[in-house]
């Protein structure tokens, strides 16, 4: 069934259906994009490194749906999902992964530094912990300007053991900043099980009380649960209720980065989490709730078509001009340091 046919036969839908379909569309788009990114990496078209969110799509989708258009996203080098979830066009993201001039950063950022300010994506940060204090700054600015914007900052479980995490949470609380910190706990800091190197069981949630914050754990593979917890935290921040720290339990399907096959993980553990893969489980939930399967299929086809088109555009795009290396060091557009 084509999209056009679907549009001509609208089904009576509740607001909840719209939200659910939107969430499904987002997890499917991210899944499809990440699978393509992986394939392009294997083909040698994506250079350097890439950190995929395969298996972790529900967190980006749930928060993306809960955020206001002008809210700020700060994410890590594992940031394709969060960049897409704010509406950044796939072609620009794919172009950046392929090192093309058409990339969202003109090819100067790469997979680990995706940014699209016009979509509220204020940067992907590749130094663990760095962006938590920076997200505070955006939240402080929103507070000072009275803009009602909220900053949402995503990071991994490994980040909870670095100093910047603690400095940022303390300042966020003391200044009552409109910021939501989201720990994507995928159980591994790079190649090491987080439990082996962390003093507490729940790396983020168990630290919340140290900063006067509520301890919140959510099933990070459940788009509805993530959306609900995101909405509550973001609304509270927007209303002047201060920061939140949310630990979303999830699992990456692959290794830490493209160089890592993830073989340090027990087979049973991987198998158990694959049963909780957010894409098929959410699909089953929607079908169980009576959503027409044709709507889901159409979403899947649209995602596939969009990823195909983005891939084609990126492959056809030119590499950056060599002179681009000398641009945008400074606000005047150039790189001159002397007269």
């Amino acid at each position: 069934m084509s999209t056009t046919e679907l549009e001509t036969t609208p089904r009576e839908m509740s607001d909840a259906d719209h939200t659910s379909l939107g969430l499904y569309e987002q997890v499917v788009r991210i899944r499809t994009f990440e699978e393509r990114a992986y394939r392009l990496f294997m083909e040698g078209l994506v250079k350097g490194t890439s950190h995929l969110s395969l298996g972790m799509e529900a967190i980006a989708a749930g928060f993306g749906a809960a955020m206001r258009r002008d809210d700020y996203t700060f994410c890590t080098y594992r940031g394709h999902a969060h960049t897409l979830a704010r509406g950044t066009p796939m072609a620009g993201v794919m172009g950046e992964l392929l090192g093309r001039a058409s990339g969202v950063c003109g090819g100067k950022g790469g997979s680990m530094h995706l940014t699209s300010v016009e979509h509220g994506v204020m940067g992907s940060y590749a130094i663990i912990g760095a962006h938590l204090p920076i997200a505070n700054g955006a939240a402080w600015s929103a507070q000072a300007r009275g803009s009602g914007q909220v900053a949402v900052c995503f990071f991994g479980d490994g980040t909870t053991n670095i100093g910047a995490f603690h400095e940022a949470l303390n300042l966020a609380k003391v200044w009552n900043l409109p910021v939501v910190f989201v720990c994507e706990n995928n159980l591994y800091m790079e190649y090491t099980a987080i439990g082996e190197v962390t003093a507490v069981e729940h790396p983020a949630a168990d630290r919340a009380s140290a900063y006067g914050l509520e301890s919140i754990i959510v099933d990070g593979n459940d788009p509805d649960a993530v959306y609900a917890v995101a909405t509550t935290a973001i609304d509270r921040a927007r209303a002047g209720g201060g920061p939140s720290l949310i630990e979303a339990k999830t699992y990456r399907h692959g290794g830490h980065s493209r160089a890592d096959p993830g073989q340090y993980r027990p087979e049973e553990e991987v198998a158990a989490w694959m049963q909780r893969d957010p894409v098929p489980t959410y699909r089953a939930r929607l079908l169980g709730a009576g959503i027409d399967e044709a709507l889901l299929t159409a979403i899947e086809q649209r995602a596939q078509a969009d990823v195909d088109a983005a891939t084609e555009q990126a492959r056809a795009a030119l590499p950056p001009d060599l002179q681009a290396a000398y641009t945008n060091v400074w606000a005047d557009g150039g790189s001159s340091w002397r007269n």
Partner: protein, 325 residues
């Protein structure tokens, strides 16, 4: 009209001038508000501009610079104080890896109009962890502008220029200069970054200095006059952007160069000046390009040691005599 004020009071005056000029200027740091700064350089700002715009922070340098960076990206013009420049090492990720690269990596999507003010250098017998001159660290990072004023008037003009600049600026205040006085004209003062100042004219040798080394270089030039040597002293004022034109023009006239740096010897900024002059003034030179620096040691605490190893007037005089003979 002009008045005589201290370098310390010039800091507060510059901040007040800019906070009045632009409501998006905010100021944060440790002990900067209620206490007025550990060097009393920000006294009165809290009372004048209120706790929203002049804000105390915890002892969390990463949180301070992160706040400044995120705020600068989203519409404010923050000034963040890092109490001692030695503490830049505790937040070096923000200084060297985040703040200077964001505009570049995003291909211009992000602007970072922020200033990091910090007390730099020796002279107060604080020992090796509160006395480092680290302006050369900042100079080595593409994407940072680096400013270091030598007198109260320049503190105002250059700090104002730094705050109005659309790029991140590390503003090094030399802590031994805080009590020093200088004439400052009435009214608003705003300079341009990247313009050196010839503070003493001469024809035999060019002495290039920065911050607290400037008054020493001038004292040396006055002493050299008595020895029959005419020295020109250039106050660089900024390391980035670097006013090489003023230096090159001067050396082409004098044919000799001495740089005076407070930072330790290796990879100090004087080496960059010497390298530029070697390339661009080579055929005009009549003497060895010479650097006067602190030796390549951590700065010791005892006054006898500190005084002996920071570049002194007599060492500058000696170096100039040697290149002129």
């Amino acid at each position: 009209m002009a008045e005589l004020i201290t370098y310390r009071d010039a800091v507060a005056r510059a901040l007040a001038q800019e906070m009045e000029h632009d409501p998006s200027v905010y100021f944060i740091g440790e002990d900067v508000a209620a206490a007025g700064g550990v060097f009393k350089a920000t006294k009165g700002l809290l009372e004048e501009f209120g706790p929203e715009r002049v804000r105390d922070t915890p002892i969390s340098e990463e949180a301070i610079l992160g706040a400044a960076m995120g705020a600068a990206m989203t519409g404010l013009r923050p000034v963040a104080e890092i109490m001692f420049s030695d503490f830049l090492a505790t937040c070096w990720d923000l200084v060297a890896v985040e703040i200077p690269k964001s505009r570049y990596m995003t291909d211009g999507q992000v602007s970072l109009p922020l200033v990091i003010r910090t007390a730099n250098g020796g002279g107060l017998r604080f020992g090796a962890q509160h006395s480092q001159a680290v302006e050369n660290w900042a100079m080595a990072i593409p994407g940072l502008k680096v400013v270091a004023p030598s007198n109260p008037r320049d503190v105002i003009g250059l700090l104002a220029a730094a705050i109005r600049d659309p790029d991140p600026v590390v503003f090094f205040e030399q802590k031994s200069l805080y009590p020093s006085k200088g004439e400052v004209p009435d009214g608003e003062i705003v300079d341009t970054l990247g313009v050196a100042s010839t503070v003493h004219s001469g024809s035999d040798v060019t002495i290039v200095a920065l911050a607290s080394m400037v008054p020493r270089a001038v004292a040396a030039a006055e002493e050299l006059e008595g020895l029959g040597i005419s020295a020109e002293v250039i106050d660089l004022r900024c390391l980035v952007p670097l006013d090489t034109a003023t230096v090159v023009e001067s050396v082409k006239r004098t044919s000799r160069l001495v740089t005076v740096e407070e930072n330790p010897r290796l990879c100090g900024w004087g080496a960059e000046i010497v390298s530029i002059v070697a390339e661009e003034c080579f055929w005009h030179l009549d003497g060895p390009l010479t650097r006067v620096t602190t030796p390549h040691i951590p700065l010791p605490s005892a006054d006898a040691l500190e005084d002996a190893f920071l570049p002194s007037v007599s060492r500058i005089v000696e170096a100039a005599q040697k290149v002129v003979q």
